[in-house]
């Protein structure tokens, strides 16, 4: 079994989506360090206040008050997080949205809702440095 020592941050305003991902990452994958934000208020201050710098940030796109694209810009504007992998979690099936995510500078995207059959292997690929665009 993979030992997930990396630090993950997940920003999601939908309670059920948070619950599903937490169950998969903690109970099925055994992730040790998962931090969850319920909205994007004071996003960068909250990241900086975390006990560890996140290795992977999973961002819902339609979060209030600032959306995933703006959060990504804030992350990239801070040199401390220049090498942080940022993955969009998206429910969009539209090619235009995926193109926007690519152009916006995300390191990948994973379709919501996630499930235990595919999500762990997608995260494994992300941690290996692969680019993952799993949008269905």
């Amino acid at each position: 079994m993979t030992d997930y020592t990396q630090c993950f941050l997940y920003v999601e305003d939908d309670a059920l989506s948070r619950e599903i991902l937490q169950i998969i990452m903690i109970n099925a994958m055994g992730v040790h360090h998962l931090h969850v934000l319920e909205d994007s208020q004071d996003f960068m201050q909250k990241i900086v206040a975390l006990p560890q710098k996140p290795d992977v940030i999973l961002l819902d796109i339609n979060v209030m008050p600032i959306d995933g694209f703006t959060m990504l810009q804030q992350i990239r504007a801070d040199a401390r997080y220049a090498d942080t992998v940022v993955i969009a979690l998206t429910a969009s099936v539209m090619n235009e949205e995926v193109a926007r995510l690519r152009k916006g500078g995300f390191n990948g995207a994973i379709a919501k809702p996630v499930n235990v059959m595919s999500f762990p292997s997608l995260i494994d690929r992300v941690l290996l440095g692969e680019t993952v665009w799993h949008v269905v």
Binding site: M1, I23, V93
Partner: protein, 182 residues
Amino acid sequence: MMHPMSMEKQSVTTTDFTQMEALIILLDSGVLDTRETIQQVRVLAQCQQPFVLAAMKRWILSPNPLIGQVAVDYVASYDSAPTAYLMDCLLDSTYMVRISIVQALGELKSAQAVPTLLTLLETPNQRGSTLRLSVIKALGKIGDPTIADRIRPYLNDQDAHVRQNVGATLAILGTPSQENIS
């Protein structure tokens, strides 16, 4: 006999029947922790056998939603008539598994599931928007254009993901949203 817990590193073959049956008994006993259970259910899911299918059918209604998700995927892949069985399980399953069943019905392009999916969509007091989103996506994959008027009201859904996917589904069905008509 090799202990079932060591099978993860083995390639599962159809000759491992005894090990597979032992693993099913072990999983049913509930002695493994959640992570080990999920790991072993996923190993078992690589084995296409009738007795594994029988176990997976039971596990769709497991109180552990992660086991249920794997079981749904297995039944959708290997059962000879998955649509009817998955629809039977729909309302008795946990919320997370219900979402997986809806996704599976979409992947199966099950036209017979359309009325059930529409009823589910229109059922009030759903827990969050994820189920509505999954139903809309599944209906889009099934591709029945007669459902357009039933999903069009969800262009005004409170959830942006749902609104976006309704628009995309209406486009797939060849029935543009009202904004496009006007």
